[in-house]
Amino acid sequence: MSATAQFVTATTVEEALAAEETFHGKGAGPVPESPPAPAEGCVGRLGLESFHAPQLIAHAAHVRVDRETGVVRVLRVAAVHDCGRILNRVGADGQVYGGVVMGIGQALSEGTQLDGLGRQRNPHLLDYKLVTASDAPEIAIDWVETDTPNAGPKGSKGVGEPPCVPTAGAIANAIAKVVGNRVRQLPMTPERVWEAQQG
């Protein structure tokens, strides 16, 4: 992270606009023109220029459901991604391992619980249940390297966020197949899976 040379706090919109700084994301204000992007590469406004090339992903999950308790264990996940040309196989695989485990947390255990005033009831790792290393399943990874117009450097595409997107859906489908009913809410906690089985 680079240091910020200047920092001011605006208290009115006028002050903020007068600072003539660029506000990214949810901010407001003038956005400068992009610097000219080279024919290949990710350099551009917000780095988004190259992302007109979508990734295609399929995940498959093998789960075991304890039908008496609703406890779900993910045994294997197969993750196949088309993220264009893979420039660094070890790094790309790492993104998928991490993303799949994150997706398992979204699917089964990670839920922010709020009280009536909007305060978090589980603001610690005892009750906000991240997936532990002991819960990580066998993860099989494969890559489909497709030539895509508008791809990034050397024909690559992004592999940051995509690996955690389809995992919960695959797990939800697997649970529905075992249980016979859909669990319509994430995370699919043991109690929700158990409730779904009650019919």
Partner: protein, 297 residues
């Protein structure tokens, strides 16, 4: 987190007792006291006496009649002890799954008991295995059962100047098998939402004695006499089911962020049945890996 005004380290039980008599509270592994203070549950006491260097409280040994656990024996030490694994298997099941690896390496049996959580893993096995504790103050020593020690969530009969010195477990009769099973949402770093203990003794193929306990299902960990009576009448499949139903009926669960009252009550029956079944297998000489909670998971 408030600052503790006074902090002293005791190297003998006598020094620790003198500090307690002067108003200090004891700290050993700190896994409840320090974490609780950070979470805002309770501020740190004004005066603390660290007892982790009191070497005589680290002992884990036994004689012909009983296994002796000093108050500072850690969960990890209990879970790894050959005698515990062979004869007090339910306690090994419980000690092997307390919190995380770090909690088990740091947390002590004495601190665990005196924290008096109705969700503590070791409590059910200790109660069902007939464990006693020794409390000592500058005024004297008294012994009692773990059942008598625990009176409510976070509450014990001990007064503030008393230190838990040791836990003693009488050797179970030959033919005894035991198990502690906990409902686990994930494989590590869990806390009991529902737990159950079973200790059964077989004589000539019949259950001559049974103990069933429920954890995190009432203000204190408690035995279920109705379940024990059913099991001693005839150990068939129907009696195991009936005992499990009795365990659920004896539950007075709460609803909170971890589970609803309804789910907890339903799980009480499932988990109690699994604990009884595994205890019976072990009593017959069958090998069920420790911790029993991992079976089938």
């Amino acid at each position: 987190m408030s600052a503790t005004a006074q902090f002293a380290t005791a190297s003998t039980v006598e020094e620790a007792l003198a500090a307690l008599a002067a108003g200090a509270r004891p700290v050993a592994g700190g896994t409840d006291l320090v974490v609780g203070a950070r979470q805002g549950k309770a501020p740190l006491p004004d005066a603390l006496v660290a007892i982790h260097r009191v070497s005589e409280l680290h002992a884990i040994d036994g004689d012909a009649d009983a296994l002796h656990l000093g108050a500072l024996v850690t969960h990890a030490e209990i879970a790894a002890h050959p005698d515990v694994r062979a004869r007090f298997t339910a306690l090994a099941d419980a000690s092997a799954i307390v919190g995380s690896h770090a909690t088990r390496a740091q947390g002590t049996i004495g601190g665990n008991l005196m924290n008096a959580s109705p969700a503590m893993e070791a409590g059910g096995p200790l109660i069902c295995l007939g464990a006693t504790v020794t409390l000592r103050s500058t005024g004297g020593t008294r012994d009692m059962t773990v059942e008598e020690l625990l009176t409510g969530p976070g509450a014990t009969v001990a007064s503030n100047d008393e230190l838990l010195i040791a836990v003693d477990l009488p050797h179970p009769a030959p033919g005894t098998g035991s198990a502690y099973v906990r409902l686990e949402y994930r494989r590590q770093m869990e806390i009991a939402v529902v737990g159950a203990t079973a200790v059964v003794t077989l004589a000539d193929g019949e259950v001559s004695q049974a103990r069933v306990g429920i954890t995190a299902l009432a203000p204190t960990i408690r035995r279920v006499p109705a379940a024990e009576e059913v099991l001693t009448s005839a150990p068939d499949e129907a009696s195991v089911e009936a005992a499990a139903r009795a365990a659920a009926a004896a539950s007075v669960p709460i609803s909170d962020l971890r589970a609803s009252e309804r789910y907890r009550r339903a799980m009480a029956e499932v988990i109690a049945r699994r604990a009884i079944e595994i205890a019976l297998v072990r009593a017959r000489g069958g090998d069920v890996p420790i911790p029993a909670s991992a079976v089938g998971q």
